[in-house]
C-alpha cells in the first residue's frame, strides 16, 4: 500500500495536537480560577504560611485553683489541615507555657516528637523525655499531666476516643510510677472542675 507522505505528516501533527490538548491544556482549563477569585487569594492544603495564619478555638486544660483537678480554658490554636496535623497543633499548645493566671500540669521541657492517628480512633502522642524525667511525682500531679494531654485531644477532636502517650518513641509503664500508660487512656471528665 502506497500512502502519500503529506497524509502521513498531517496525521502526526493531528496526533501531537490531540496529546497536547488532553494532557496539558484540558487539565489547566478544568482547574482554572473560579469566577470572582484571583490566584493570589487561593489557599492550597499544606500551604505552611497560610496555615500558620489561620487559627481555631480549642479547650486546653490547666490546673484548677483548688489543685485537685483541671479547668478548661478556651485558647486560639494554629489550624491544622488534617486531623493529625490539628491534633499535633493542639498538643503543642497544651505543652507550651500556661497563659497568665493559669498553672500548667506539664513538666518543663516536654515537646511533641510525633503524633499519629489509628483507624481505631486512637491517637499516639510521642513526647520527649522531660515529660517523665522532669515530673515532680505524686499520683495526683501525674493524673493532671496525663489527662491534660488526653482531654485536650479527646474533647477538641471527638473522633479521637483514646490517647496513648509514648516517651521518646517508646511505650512506657508510667510517667512517675502511678498511672498505667501501657494502654490508650480515655477522656476523663470527672477530673474537670
Amino acid at each position: 500500500m502506497n500512502v502519500p507522505w503529506r497524509w502521513l505528516i498531517g496525521g502526526v501533527v493531528a496526533a501531537a495536537v490531540g496529546v497536547w490538548v488532553v494532557s496539558l491544556w484540558l487539565p489547566t482549563w478544568l482547574a482554572g480560577p473560579r469566577p470572582g477569585s484571583t490566584p493570589s487569594a487561593t489557599t492550597l492544603p499544606g500551604d505552611p504560611a497560610a496555615a500558620e495564619s489561620r487559627r481555631i478555638n480549642a479547650s486546653l486544660f490547666y490546673v484548677s485553683a483548688s489543685g485537685d483537678g483541671l479547668v478548661a480554658v478556651d485558647r486560639e490554636v494554629v489550624y491544622g489541615a488534617t486531623p493529625a496535623a490539628q491534633a499535633r497543633r493542639i498538643i503543642e499548645a497544651q505543652l507550651a507555657a500556661a497563659p497568665e493566671g493559669q498553672v500548667s500540669a506539664i513538666p518543663a521541657g516536654a515537646e511533641v516528637r510525633a503524633l499519629f492517628l489509628t483507624s481505631r480512633s486512637e491517637a499516639f502522642v510521642d513526647i520527649t523525655a522531660p515529660l517523665s524525667t522532669n515530673h515532680p511525682g505524686g499520683s495526683l500531679h501525674e493524673s493532671l499531666t496525663i489527662y491534660a494531654i488526653v482531654n485536650a485531644l479527646t474533647v477538641n477532636l471527638p473522633d479521637i476516643t483514646a490517647v496513648q502517650i509514648l516517651i521518646d518513641g517508646h511505650e512506657v509503664d508510667t510517667l512517675a510510677g502511678h498511672i498505667d500508660l501501657r494502654h490508650p487512656i480515655r477522656r476523663n471528665t470527672q477530673i474537670i472542675r
Binding site: 483548688s66 485537685d68 500540669a105 515532680p136 511525682g137 505524686g138 499520683s139 493524673s143 502511678h178 498505667d180
Partner: protein
C-alpha cells in the same frame, strides 16, 4: 458399793493433784518465750523480758551481747547511744522513736529504763540497719545473709487422694524424699519459718513438724503412693498423696461438696512502700522524700499488724531498692496475700492542696484492653506434673488480675478513708478516688493505694516528718484492716468493668 466409792474418791484426789501440777506448769509456760536469732553460723536465743500484747520487750544488754553492740550512756540527752559498726542509734527514755544515723525510725513501743537496765521493743533491732528481720509472729530474728523462708503448707483434696502445696517466700532450692512413712522436704536455708498445716485429714497426713531446714510429714495409713515435685519452682513444692480407694458412699447420703478454698479471713497482707532506689517519688520543700516516708509507715504498719492481728505481713521492699510494679504485685500474688496496701505520698502543682487520699483501680479504664472482657467460665490451662500426666490450673491474665477485685478494693478504700478521717488525718477534697493505677492492676486480691498526704503542701510536709503523725496514719490503716479481717463486706468477689 462402799469400797467402790472409796476408790473413786481416791482417783478424784489423784486427778485433782495432777491438774494442780499441770496448771502450775502451765503458768510457767505462759512466761514470754525467747526469740530465736538465726544467723549463717547457727541460732541462739534472745530472751524476752516482757510482752505487752502489742510488742515484745528485750533488754538492751542481752541484745548488745548477742549482736556485739557498743552501748554508751548519754546523760545530757537522757538516753543511750548504741553503736554497731558505722551505724549509731540514739535512744531516749520514753520515746517510741530512735535516731538511726540521723534518720528517724518509729518503734512499736517506747524505750524505757528500769534501774540501770534499758528496755527496748524487739523491733529496735531493725534500726541497726544490719539486715535484721524481726518476725514476732514466729518469734524469729533473721540476720542477713541467713535465709529463713516463710513456709506455708496447704492441703488440697484431689480425686486420687490429696495434695500438699508448700509455698516458700523467698524461694529456695528444695528436695523431696520419702523414707517409710515420712516424707521430708529439705530446703536449702538456715532455718524455716513454718505456718501450721490445717485441714489435712489424718488418714493422709498424720502430722507435720519442722526440723532445722526440713519439713517432715508423717503419712497417714491411707497413702499408697507419693509423687513429689521438688525444685523446679523454688517458691512452690507440691506433693501428691495417692490414697487407697475410698469406699463408695451410699447413694442416698450425698455429701456436700468439700470447700477447698482457704477459710475466710485475712492471714497474709502485702504492704508496699511506694517508690525506692533512684525513684525517690515526690519531694517536699523541706527535703522529705516520698520513698522514705512510705518505708517508715510500712514498717510501722507491719509491726502493728503482726502485734495486733497476728497476721503474716510481707513487704514488697525491705530496703531502699527500686522494684518494678510487676515484681511488687508478684510478691503479693506468690505470697497468697489477702490484701495489698500500697503506700505513697502525693504531690500537687498547687501548694495549698493537702490531705490523705485512698485510691483503687478504675476497672472501666481497662474496658477496651484485650483480655479484660467479663468471663463466665474460669479458663483452665493444663500443665504437666512430675510422674506424668497433667493437671489444670486457673489462668488469670497477670496484667489484669485486679479486675476481679475492683468492687472489694473500692469498699476497702472507703473504709480506710473513713478510718483515716476518724483518726484526725486531714483528708483530700476527694478522699476516695479511682484511676488506672499501674501498681494495683497486677494484684490478685483487694488492693488500695493510700496517699498519706501531699508533700508539696507545707502543713502536710511538716506533719509527715513527725513520727507521731506517721504513727497515727499507721494506726488508722491497721484499724481499717482490722475492720475487714473476716472479709470485706458486700464485696462478693465480683467487679468486672
Amino acid at each position: 458399793l462402799q469400797k467402790y466409792d472409796g476408790g473413786l474418791a481416791l482417783r478424784l484426789v489423784i486427778v485433782g493433784l495432777l491438774a494442780l501440777v499441770a496448771s502450775s506448769t502451765g503458768a510457767r509456760t505462759q512466761e514470754p518465750a525467747s526469740y530465736r536469732v538465726v544467723t549463717t553460723d547457727g541460732s541462739r536465743p534472745l530472751p524476752v523480758h516482757a510482752s505487752t500484747g502489742t510488742t515484745d520487750i528485750v533488754t538492751l544488754d542481752a541484745a548488745a551481747r548477742l549482736f556485739g553492740l557498743v552501748v554508751r550512756d548519754d546523760p545530757r540527752a537522757g538516753g543511750v547511744v548504741v553503736s554497731a559498726g558505722n551505724e549509731r542509734v540514739v535512744l531516749t527514755a520514753g520515746q517510741a522513736t530512735v535516731s538511726s544515723s540521723g534518720r528517724l525510725v518509729s518503734l512499736s513501743a517506747p524505750v524505757t529504763r528500769s534501774g540501770s537496765t534499758w528496755l527496748v521493743p524487739v523491733d529496735f533491732l531493725r534500726a541497726l540497719n544490719r539486715g535484721i528481720d524481726v518476725r514476732r509472729g514466729s518469734k524469729l530474728i533473721v540476720v542477713a545473709p541467713a535465709v529463713v523462708p516463710r513456709v506455708t503448707p496447704r492441703f488440697e483434696r484431689t480425686a486420687t487422694g490429696g495434695r500438699l502445696v508448700i509455698t516458700l517466700e523467698p524461694g529456695a532450692t528444695t528436695r523431696v524424699t520419702r523414707e517409710g512413712s515420712i516424707v521430708s522436704v529439705r530446703v536449702q536455708a538456715n532455718a524455716l519459718d513454718v505456718e501450721p498445716l490445717s485441714g489435712a485429714p489424718a488418714d493422709l497426713v498424720a502430722s507435720m513438724r519442722a526440723d532445722d531446714a526440713s519439713l517432715l510429714f508423717e503419712l497417714g495409713p491411707s497413702v499408697t503412693n507419693v509423687r513429689g515435685d521438688d525444685g523446679r519452682d523454688q517458691t512452690r513444692v507440691t506433693i501428691d498423696l495417692i490414697g487407697a480407694p475410698q469406699p463408695a458412699a451410699p447413694p442416698t447420703a450425698q455429701a456436700p461438696p468439700v470447700q477447698l478454698d482457704r477459710p475466710p479471713g485475712i492471714r497474709t497482707i502485702a504492704i508496699d512502700a511506694g517508690h525506692g532506689g533512684e525513684d525517690a517519688g515526690a519531694r517536699s520543700p523541706n527535703g522529705a522524700i516520698e520513698k522514705d516516708v512510705t518505708m517508715i509507715v510500712a514498717m510501722r504498719v507491719k509491726a502493728l499488724l503482726e502485734a495486733r492481728l497476728g497476721v503474716r505481713v510481707v513487704l514488697t521492699r525491705e530496703g531502699d531498692a527500686n522494684i518494678t510494679p510487676d515484681r511488687r504485685a508478684a510478691l503479693a500474688n506468690n505470697s497468697k496475700a489477702d490484701l495489698f496496701i500500697s503506700l505513697h505520698a502525693n504531690g500537687s502543682p498547687v501548694a495549698a492542696l493537702r490531705g490523705a487520699q485512698v485510691l483503687s483501680l478504675a476497672g472501666q479504664d481497662y474496658a477496651g484492653v484485650e483480655g479484660a472482657a467479663p468471663r463466665t467460665d474460669a479458663p483452665a490451662v493444663p500443665v504437666p506434673v512430675v510422674g506424668g500426666g497433667t493437671r489444670t490450673i486457673d489462668a488469670v491474665p497477670w496484667q489484669l488480675a485486679q479486675l476481679t477485685h475492683v468492687n472489694a478494693s473500692a469498699t476497702l478504700a472507703g473504709i480506710t478513708a473513713q478510718r483515716l478521717a476518724e483518726a484526725g488525718v486531714v483528708m483530700h477534697p476527694r478522699p476516695v478516688d479511682v484511676g488506672p493505677l499501674r501498681i494495683l492492676v497486677g494484684a490478685n486480691m483487694p488492693a488500695i493505694l493510700i496517699e498519706l498526704g501531699v508533700l508539696t503542701n507545707a502543713d502536710d510536709a511538716t506533719a509527715l516528718a513527725q513520727a507521731s503523725y506517721l504513727s497515727v496514719l499507721a494506726d488508722a490503716i491497721v484499724t481499717a484492716i482490722s475492720d475487714v479481717r473476716l472479709g470485706i463486706p458486700g464485696s462478693g468477689g465480683g467487679g468486672q468493668p
